[in-house]
Symmetry: C2
Subunit: 319 residues, 2 copies
């Protein structure tokens, strides 16, 4: 059998047809165009998925299930999305609406959980009994895998490590609290720190790279400057990876998984990022002499959403 | 069948014979007398367990397994204790040594994990699919239960939430790091905060309760003063329970268990403690409208170690 995977994002909808091994046979993509009526967005999700099926040459009878990764939380008992903050959705009947176009069993799961599941199924953490995947993007999301299965918690709200408090009464967070981990570990946080540095040091290397226009600043520019050895940027990057090392210790001290997988935009910094975190991490561990989780970079990139949602729906609905 | 449970502590060894329902049929206790040779302490553990068996009237043939809760970490593949900091044990063959006296299968587990397992088996979290037990004592330990089983992590070092960083570069911790959660959430932390307050306010209510002798200060005196409505003590207690609310949010945001169980010395403050935490907690949660873990007080008290180690050994060795 084959499986549809839909990665619903704030800007794009990506769909794919996936085989038993997690290989994507064909893909299609369209814009989300947030702000439109719920039904219109779901209609486009369905159309995009059917386009992928058509491109794959797979007959609809061969499609077993549909998986959807959402930037939010769902209830698979009802098939409803509880909420997707970025899409302004609350209590929307996603499964029912999508089944108007594609009448197959549907499983809906948080996008970071889905990506973590993909890495654990066929990516870098393949075969790990337990792993924690974290995305370092606009925010910080996570997917926890325990005994090979996603752990979404008793109320379905687990793995929100982006909203563990990292600095008591610290930076205000979009969630309404202060000092959340994602205010210090996301790409957004790195950019904020970069802007603060540029304002304090108007002649710094980064300021030259952006011609003094702070609007042009992104994570890659900061990381490139640090990679090139600029002392201000290195100091900034080390401050950022200190927070990431603390986040890794939180995961290790709490759950002690076999592997921690770093994904999302900042993870494209590659071994430079990994080295900076792993050389700081031992200082923050309680047990200096015990083995602890391997820290690795995600390998599936943007395809993790399609692959993970497709394979998770298969496992949840057919096994 | 019946099961021996041994609770090995830094000051006392408590042993019991437990039936299928987790009822303690008979108990015995002796001093640990830390600092003696390993063999002598284990000899006393065995003698104490045999005394409990004798008192219970149960024949040794009816004893199926022996469980031991230790203030440290063990490897059940080898039967060795990896380390017990308070007992100065490193790589000690506890199972082999104990079996010289009691030739039964032995399971060794961290004491907080064992206590959490006991609460989940027959205590306040009985029947919960997932729970996190935290002890608020000299330090802060935890026991994670997932799908009814203890989660000890891939390398056996999970649930050390006492050593998640709560305040970056904060109070020095006994583990060698700074700012660990247990420096803010343990009974020891409450006493430290109390001493600081007494030095700043030499005429405060607590100072009067201890006749100006800071050596007499303990958690109960601080809590009693706060219960009696003293404004300084209330402010201090609220500062302490703010840290506990943050710790509860860390557990909820990460693992989203069905229940969080509070045990250890400070939990004897009862509903006064519970109310102070639960009224602060919603402020620190990301999802204000979603249901989240119930926060409850442990019910098994000091017997959790005997019951939990006995029942866990049964489950691990006979099921």
């Amino acid at each position: 059998m084959k499986y549809i995977g839909i990665d619903l994002g704030g800007s794009h909808i990506a769909c794919g047809v996936v085989d038993e091994d997690g290989e994507i046979l064909a893909k299609a993509e369209t814009s989300t165009l947030v702000g439109r009526p719920f039904e219109n967005i779901v209609y486009d999700m369905g159309r995009c998925a059917l386009t992928a099926v058509e491109k794959s040459g797979v007959h609809m009878d061969e499609i077993s299930t549909v998986g959807i990764g959402i930037p939010g939380i769902a209830n698979n008992a009802t098939g409803d999305v509880i909420f997707c903050t970025n899409l302004f959705w609350t209590d929307e009947p996603l499964r029912r609406e999508l089944q108007k176009q594609i009448n197959k069993p549907v499983w809906i799961e948080n996008d970071a959980t889905v990506a973590g599941f993909a890495e654990n199924a066929i990516g870098i953490s393949k075969g790990c009994k337990s792993s924690v995947f974290i995305t370092l993007g606009t925010g910080v999301g996570a997917g926890i895998i325990i005994d090979g299965k996603p752990w979404i918690g008793f109320h379905g709200v687990a793995s929100e490590i982006g909203h563990i408090t990292m600095v008591i009464d610290g930076e205000p967070c979009t969630c309404g609290k202060d000092g959340c981990l994602e205010r210090y570990c996301s790409a957004t946080a790195l950019i904020r720190m970069g802007k603060e540095m540029c304002m304090a040091h108007p002649n710094c290397d980064i300021m030259q790279r952006i011609d003094g226009n702070l609007e042009l600043l992104n994570a890659k520019i900061i990381i490139d400057s640090a990679k090139d050895g600029d002392s201000h940027s290195l100091m900034l990057f080390n401050r950022y990876t200190k927070y990431l090392a603390l986040a890794c210790n939180t995961i290790i001290s709490f759950l002690d998984p076999e592997m921690i997988v770093l994904g999302g935009g900042v993870s494209h910094a590659g071994d430079f990022l990994l080295k900076s975190i792993t050389e700081k991490l031992p200082h923050y561990l309680m047990f200096k002499t015990m083995p602890y989780a391997k820290i690795k970079l995600a390998t599936l990139g943007n395809e993790a959403g399609i692959i993970g949602s497709a394979l998770l729906a298969r496992d949840m609905l057919t096994k």
